[in-house]
Symmetry: C2
């Protein structure tokens, strides 16, 4: 799967960084995590197909994380979108998002389905589940877990040696076993092959998105062994007190979360516009958690 | 005065063009005409001082012209703005703009004053007046006239020869005349000098902003002899019918307005995202009105 950091600034944009949004492209669809002002243009400028956006997960209703939805849904309308768009917001915030979406009393010709994200599973399909968990910020805020389901893969050589081919794979998957035809010329003829004899499991990837928040035990629990934790890092150590006061995190605090959760990789975003260089932040985080990156807008991660 | 084309696209942004907004920098303040999504970042990227924005003139409440206000006013709040911000919207649209501004029930610490723009003078100070006029679009839409007031300039040499200097200029301006001191050694001693004897008038510049609209007689009247007409040009001739249907203008239609109004210069914006090249549009407009430009985002005009 492909993760594109569309916007990596916090609170206000800068010349270099747009407001928060992360795109996760998976199996032909795009999931957006947050949608700050200007996100639709960031999608275009990163050559993503805007019509693939099916679901938007809004962490909280502060303007810098959500105003972009208003423009995006109007562009969908102009593009004659028909398929539904799902927008998840923290519990109790449905009224606010609706006020933003239809400030001008516009009626949309495609379904826009707003859902309040309670703690736990909020969305699933055959490939993945999405869970929400509560973060610690000045307003109701959700973190999100994208968990790809474990997948079965066939041992190619084993299958070949049993003479399994064509539609037999589907039959095997469906029934859990298959009887090899008695009439074929094969030492395995008539044998019953179980699914588990010819398959192995590939562990699904896990990505956790946590912004805006103070460093919080919930995030450690949610991000346990995650392949990637995307965590806010509004400040460096020099503004540790401001981070506390404004319910944000420093780079170091985010790194501690990644370490405690035994994550494989940490990506920091929501960088305050006061920092013209991220060198200090990177240094402070890497001292605690080596595999830390601070992406620029447009940076791509393949997970 | 300086005009910066912050966003020149229509309806949806493109890789090259952001949504509509034009900044007019005059005498230490910035007036914004329309404020599409992403305008605050365009302001930053064009190195304008965002805190100088005092007044925003919204042509109509279609999302592409107004959504940027929501982000801008939050950035002002984060910057601890204290001075008031004036937002002008077409008559009857106050509720809609308020729904957008405070979708999240935020309270601002500085005054945001929304005014409905009736036809006629909507704002004035010692340097300029702003008038609104009605355009012809699918929703209530205003055009805006920025009219710099005529200014008096002193003939330097004449003033010198009469011995006018220092505080005498202010006195002359205030009273309309001045009596030259009887005691000075000058052939003009004791003489009464009238203001008009030592001054000439410099005509103020006039700029007219007209988008979105069908070509409309009101615009011709409003833009009579304007130094600059900024007019929408969503389509080229190939989409003449679409322009009619969707209540927009072609480049040629905009050029005809500029010609009839005897404008000095025409700038086209609100270019549909379907046009990857503006060459045809430019050609069609220039055939009618030679002094036509189609600015790119970030282009600057000194008037």
């Amino acid at each position: 799967m492909k993760i594109v950091f569309l916007g990596t600034s916090g609170s206000t944009p800068t010349k270099q960084r747009n407001l928060p949004s992360v795109a996760l492209e998976y199996n032909g669809e795009i999931l957006l995590f947050d949608c700050g002002e200007g996100t639709q243009r960031q999608v275009m400028q990163n050559s993503l197909n805007i019509s693939k956006i099916n679901k938007i997960f809004i962490s909280h209703m502060h303007g810098d994380h959500v105003i972009g939805v208003a423009g995006l849904i109007r562009t969908f309308a102009l593009n004659n979108r028909e398929k539904p768009l799902y927008i998840f917001v923290p519990e109790g915030e449905e009224k606010k998002i609706n006020a933003l979406l239809t400030f001008d009393k516009i009626k949309f010709d495609y379904p826009i389905i707003v859902k309040e994200a309670k703690t736990g599973v909020i969305d699933k399909n055959k490939d993945y589940i999405i869970k929400a968990f509560r973060l610690k910020h000045s307003v109701p805020t959700c973190g999100f877990i994208f968990k790809e389901l474990n997948r079965l893969r066939f041992y190619k050589n084993k299958c070949m040696s049993y003479g399994i081919k064509g539609t037999m794979f589907a039959e095997l998957k469906e029934k859990g076993f298959i009887n090899i035809n008695k009439n074929i010329k094969n030492k395995n003829k008539g044998k019953r092959i179980n699914l588990k004899d010819v398959t192995y499991e590939v562990k699904g990837k896990m990505i956790v998105y946590a912004t805006d928040t103070r460093p919080f035990i919930n995030t450690v629990t949610a991000a346990k062994n995650a392949d990637l934790l995307i965590h806010e890092s509004t400040y460096a150590n020099d503004n540790e007190n401001l981070a506390k006061e404004r319910m944000h995190s420093t780079a170091l605090e985010a790194a501690l979360i990644a370490k405690k959760a035994n994550c494989k990789k940490l990506a920091l975003l929501h960088i305050s516009s006061r920092y013209h260089s991220i060198d200090t932040m990177k240094k402070e985080a890497k001292k605690i958690f080596k595999n830390t990156i601070i992406p620029n807008d447009g940076d791509i991660l393949e997970i």
